[in-house]
């Protein structure tokens, strides 16, 4: 059998969960993380990050709309996926997906965005023409009430929605961690820490993603980046990353210490097949380096330009590192044999239904959707003539 070292059970040689299954938790992680950033403003009253509030919500929506697509492309029979709505199996974590997704999309994200934008939606439904007018009119659901009182009610209800949205976001992404963490057959996955690690790494990646998007879109609009906003985001990113890193290290130390029957096989796998993706990319370049640099920004007073550059670098490394983490969990969990006697290889195809091009497409698509959403529901106030005072 090609690509196999040692012994694999014959049916284990092929990997059944491809790069698309790596993408899915990555995307829902970005959704959850972006939403947490938005909730910092709405629930925890961190006014400093207010400039990113609407952008974070739209980012979450853009990625959430794309989230089911990798799953649909992976399924052997995607036309049967409505079965998850009609006959969900109560003992299966995966069966939750349909309902959790729908709940989060409609009862949290769309609801909150609608409440926050309702005033603009109603105004635009009266001021625009043609197809756009129709779109806005539909979005008003036929109500043109933007009185003080109604907007105040929106504000209050929106606060409750965000409050409910926080555990909903944890559920949306945490259940994915549980899908892996509850599989006793696979010692690389089976762990009560798995949902928690997934949630915290999701928060870091989502916050980093929105930070980068904020900086990029602000630059594209030739506006000044609110440095206080970005400083605050980076601070949250840093502290949440420390928690995430501690959890992952706890898992690692626990494994090495207990050294159960799976340890030798997994240890060898990490040092050979996953060396680049886990040790180099996820841990050294993707975690230790950004943590160190962010730590420096917390204790040393760098200039604005230097801080921005560090944030961009760290944010990018974090985005890559969290993707690597998903890769190491999903693909890593299938590279070793459950007999602990061998390994197989995973070759990503290029142009197949579950190949690299499709994966890249699913990463670009949310950005295109975000662009459309930004046009439809601008997250920032009307363009000011004030240009950026300093570069970057």
């Amino acid at each position: 059998m090609s690509g196999v070292e040692g012994y694999m059970y014959p049916n284990e040689v092929t990997l059944y969960w491809s790069v698309l299954i790596v993408l899915y938790p990555y995307i829902t992680g970005l959704v959850a993380g972006a939403f947490i950033l938005a909730s910092l403003v709405r629930v925890f009253r961190v006014q400093a990050v207010a400039p990113t509030y609407r952008l974070a919500l739209l980012t979450a929506l853009a990625f959430l709309l794309v989230a089911p697509l990798p799953l649909q492309f992976h399924l052997g029979h995607p036309e049967r996926s409505p079965e998850m709505y009609f006959t969900p199996h109560a003992t299966s974590a995966m069966a939750m997906f349909g309902y959790v997704y729908l709940w989060y999309l409609m009862a949290v994200l769309v609801f909150e965005i609608w409440l926050d934008y309702r005033r603009e939606i109603v105004l635009r439904s009266q001021q625009t023409k043609g197809l756009l007018r129709l779109i806005y009119k539909i979005m008003t659901l036929g109500s043109n009430n933007i009185s003080e009182r109604s907007l105040h009610i929106d504000e209050r209800v929106g606060w409750i929605v965000t409050l409910i949205g926080i555990p909903s976001a944890f559920l949306l992404h945490g259940y994915v961690g549980f899908i892996f963490g509850s599989i006793k057959a696979n010692p690389w996955w089976s762990s009560p820490l798995m949902p928690v690690v997934f949630i915290f790494s999701a928060m870091v990646s989502g916050i980093a993603g929105v930070m980068l998007l904020y900086m990029a879109t602000t630059k594209l609009r030739k506006q000044a980046i609110d440095i206080h906003c970005v400083d605050t985001i980076a601070m949250y990113m840093f502290y949440i990353f420390i928690i995430d890193f501690s959890l992952e290290m706890l898992d690692l130390v626990h494994r090495i210490y207990e050294a159960d029957e799976s340890f030798r096989s997994l240890d060898f796998m990490v040092h050979s097949k996953l060396f680049f993706s886990q040790i180099v990319l996820q841990i050294i370049l993707g975690t230790l380096l950004p943590l160190f640099l962010l730590f420096l920004t917390q204790v040393v007073k760098f200039s604005e330009i230097v801080r921005k550059r560090i944030y961009i670098f760290c944010g990018s490394m974090i985005m890559i590192s969290v993707f690597a983490m998903r890769w190491n969990v999903v693909i890593g969990g299938q590279l070793f044999s459950k007999s602990f006697l061998g390994y197989t290889t995973y070759k990503v195809d290029l142009v197949t239904k579950e190949g690299l091009l499709v994966a890249i497409g699913f990463l670009i698509l949310p950005l295109l959707i975000l662009w459309a959403l930004v046009k439809l529901l601008p997250p920032w106030p009307a363009q000011s003539s004030h240009q950026a005072a300093s570069g970057d």
């Binding site: 012994y7 014959p10 052997g76 029979h77 006793k184």
Partner: protein, 243 residues
């Protein structure tokens, strides 16, 4: 064989009558089968297995198993004193055409046929999101190919590696304990083809089934007992090195 035409004329009708219940395609024509009367398992006798691969070939024939995937397979273990925890295991094409000749050395060799364990507390049915795989009332774990999404969650959840995604049907597939045979009073294809009696179908609810006596008289194990899957493939003479 020397059967004259006259013999044929006599024997054919007898054969036809005997085959009526076998040719029937639906359980309604085998009215004697009641699911609640049975609780199926399998007995695998390691000291008897010679690694001929008959079972693997018979299963592929009976169930149209695609090449490269296995509803059952045979592993050959080579255990030496110095590496008790690290046996050398091979399963060339699942053992379908037998195994290469082994040379005598200080270690011991043995063959281990593997298959779906038809677990009573099956982790694969626990994780199926839609109810496409299930434990039938007579203890056989089955897959409904018309309902399965092909998500492969069950494949990941099986500790024994007995499931796969069918390459053309794109649904999960695995050993069905030849359900279409055992419900008609036949034994499984692998048991039928095994020349040494290393594999034997067992009906735990049948008081006359030889498995009850066998379980009393032998030390019997299941694979990965720590997983508490309620596995019903019972192994006689299973070495501790078997994974």
């Amino acid at each position: 064989m020397n059967i004259s035409r006259r013999h044929i004329l006599v024997l054919l009708p007898a054969a036809a009558v005997a085959w009526k219940h076998v040719l029937a395609g639906t359980p309604e024509d085998s009215p004697n089968y009641r699911m609640s009367d049975h609780w199926w398992g399998m007995l695998i006798d390691i000291p008897k297995c010679i690694g001929c691969g008959n079972c693997v070939r018979a299963c592929q024939t009976e169930n149209d198993v695609p090449d490269g995937f296995f509803r059952t397979w045979v592993e050959r273990y080579h255990v030496t004193d110095t590496h008790l925890e690290n046996p050398e295991v091979i399963s060339p094409d699942g053992g379908k055409e037998g195994f290469p000749i082994a040379k005598e050395d200080e270690g011991k060799y043995f063959f281990v046929p593997k298959m779906c364990n038809h677990c009573a507390d099956s982790p694969c049915t626990q994780v199926c999101p839609v109810g496409a795989t299930f434990v039938a009332p007579d203890g056989v774990v089955l897959i409904d190919p018309k309902y399965c999404l092909g998500c492969a969650y069950c494949v990941q959840a099986c500790p024994y590696g007995c499931r796969y995604i069918h390459p053309t049907k794109k649904v999960a597939d695995k050993c069905t304990l030849c359900y279409h045979r055992i419900t008609k009073g036949l034994t499984t294809a692998c048991c039928e083809a095994c020349p040494t009696g290393a594999r034997q179908l067992a009906d735990l609810k049948n008081p006359k089934d030889p498995i009850h006596e066998f379980l009393k008289m032998h030390a019997v194990q299941v694979l990965k007992p720590q997983m508490a899957t309620g596995a019903k493939a019972f192994y006689n003479g299973l070495d501790g090195s078997v994974r």
